[in-house]
Symmetry: C2
């Protein structure tokens, strides 16, 4: 059991930076619910917790454990309100196998920029049984602490891959590739498949041209009432949820 040195605090806080996370191949998670969810799934290099948390967790599967005061925890934490425990986990390494798209539904994110949006999408993918998300190389880093927190543990079950989307989609043969567009077909009038890829675009610019030409099924989420003129749009995580819910509603009912 070690205390929290100044260097350790500095190291933990430095994990806010993508460059450091990438070099160290680790990421930070905070709070009893999230750390609890991740402890079984990813190797834990370091964990710092208050004595009360440690008393409830007798055997902690971490390389190093520090008992800390609330004050020490606050100095290391990136949260506004630090919560009993934080931990540094090793980033997993996944391999991409596009064959799974023959049987499974997956998401692709084309330059989603907001860490909270990515985390929320991972959380809802977990809810809707989507096990793989393919992100364009310019999509925000899944190990951004804000993303990790917003997944609420979904990051332990949903595999996130980074890969150039045009290459990935271009390599697919006879796989449905969906995307949402203002000029797409009303998704409620389509028979949606149980497999394939749903592409969601950047917050401001939507799906890029290079990816759009590779999409073979354009969908539209109808607003209500449909007659109403609207210049509005939905947040990307919201749109992802509404689309995934409809895919799963149809899959469960046909």
């Amino acid at each position: 059991m070690s205390l929290l040195s100044k260097n350790k605090i500095k190291y933990i806080r430095s994990l806010e930076l993508k460059k450091i996370r990438k070099e160290e191949k680790v990421f930070l998670a905070e709070g009893p619910k999230l750390v609890g969810d991740l402890l079984g799934h990813f190797p834990c290099c370091f964990l710092a917790a208050t004595s009360s948390w440690l008393q409830e967790h007798v055997s902690v599967p971490a390389d190093e454990v520090a008992e800390v005061s609330q004050d020490e925890l606050s100095r290391a934490s990136l949260l506004k309100t630090p919560q009993q425990v934080l931990a540094v986990f090793k980033q997993p390494e996944y391999t991409i196998d596009t064959n799974m798209l023959r049987n499974s539904l997956c998401l692709a994110l084309d330059d989603v920029q907001d860490p909270g949006n990515l985390g929320t999408i991972i959380r809802l993918a977990d809810w809707f049984g989507i096990e793989d998300i393919f992100c364009s190389l310019n999509t925000v880093d899944v190990y951004n602490p804000k993303t990790v927190q917003a997944t609420m543990g979904g990051i332990a079950r949903v595999k996130v891959h980074y890969t150039p989307l045009p290459d990935l989609i271009g390599s697919l043969d006879n796989i449905p590739v969906y995307g949402t567009f203002l000029d797409g077909e009303n998704m409620y009038e389509q028979q949606l498949s149980r497999n394939g890829l749903i592409v969601m675009g950047n917050e401001g610019n939507g799906i890029s041209k290079e990816v759009e030409i590779l999409i073979n099924r354009k969908l539209y989420i109808p607003n209500y009432p449909q007659e109403r003129e609207t210049s509005e749009s939905l947040n990307v995580a919201i749109a992802t949820a509404v689309v995934c819910a409809e895919f799963r509603r149809q899959a469960a009912s046909f």
Copy 2:
């Protein structure tokens, strides 16, 4: 045309605080899209913009207009990346008329705490043609700058009321009042009404006991595959979107 005094910058930045917003009965909005959307809807007390924005907007309906440098704008702005224009608007005053619940679908929020969640819910309410949202008194302030920004203009079209929810719901006669619960009925197997109230709960604790007993139709958003054990949940804005989408899908198809 005035310049931006130190006092003015201090005043604008103080609108981050609910206390000041409440005293002054105003709120802050930033960016060309949002300010443009709001200018026609709310009286504008003050607007600060760069010369390029002002050149494109010859007649600005604001009590006071200041041309500012990018540097001055940055000092006044609450955004990480300030965008050409910010404006202070008068808060609207709405009256509550529950009769509208006989014909319209509305939302009620029971202590939603996150400003971004509230803003996202207002934005999606706008998309789904929901014109009124009733918030419990402990729900986050709709005029929180983060909320205003997240509405993406929806705040101009969706009326947000603050009122004790038990009193409001208790006063309703023969109106469907829905809420989502883990032990609710699969919402896809229910015939959902075109009017009434959908109650959504707090991020951590869901719907309060006082409100729960007043709900007459408990719904459940099915996860997928349904056989899967899950201890997971959906973010409140995501759950709101999935529920509203299903209400509107049914309304449009029956």
